[in-house]
Assembly symmetry: C2
Homo-oligomer: 137 residues x 2
């Protein structure tokens, strides 16, 4: 939260990148409302996302720009970019085909915590086989 | 993303906190699918959330535990906690009344980016008056 009215209540887009120059971006299926994944953007990937109309992230593990779907083909067409009150998080409303998670599920959030046992339970079915989608390097 | 099958495909809950001991948690309305807010949890707040059934975060600005709604009354009753493939992000499916954002909106994501102008436009209506909800300290 933050209480700067210029940031909270203004119309100027001033995304707040963290100390690594990144801002979290939540991809949400524009059709179903399902949260598909969370990734990070730097200023360049955000600009590319705006300009191209397709989600481009910054991969923290590979330390490079990552156009979602560049390997899998499962791209994200941007319908709308929302920003939160203190402008340190984005929601991308996206149009997708299927299989947004590299493990083979529609969403990365395919497991739920059982509060009683502290274990995870699978709450979704696989929609594709990662082995046949991602070529070996 | 990450490719450790124990993390990606196991049933053991091993949340990956960042260097500050925090993990992002997205609160999503269990009824409507609307993304309400994004906040952070440390291990203690996650444990309290699990045990009490209400969302407890760690406020990065106030550097303390923050039970959502402790001031405003707008609590979040947990319906389900989901974790993503590499276990570094949570989704909380929550039951709420109204006015989840401290600026007075149902969701913190009340502004959208106009890709043509780069300006924000308001896409939601205020649901409460913050001045009458939050008492002056």
């Amino acid at each position: 939260m933050g209480d700067n009215p210029d940031i909270n209540e203004g119309t100027q887009f001033t995304p707040r990148f963290d100390q690594d120059g990144l801002i979290p971006a939540i991809a949400q299926d524009a059709n179903t409302g399902e949260i598909l994944m969370v990734a990070y953007m730097n200023a360049e990937s955000l600009e590319l996302t705006r300009k191209t109309g397709f989600a481009v992230y910054f991969s923290r593990s590979r330390k490079r720009l990552w156009k979602k779907g560049e390997e899998s083909g499962h791209m994200q067409r941007i319908e709308r970019i929302l920003v939160d009150c203190d402008q340190d998080c984005l929601v991308l409303k996206v149009r997708v085909d299927s299989g947004q998670c590299h493990v083979g599920y529609q969403s990365c959030f395919y497991r739920a915590l059982d509060p009683a046992t502290g274990q995870l339970e699978f709450v979704a079915d696989r929609v594709f086989d990662p082995a046949s989608t991602y070529r070996k390097k």
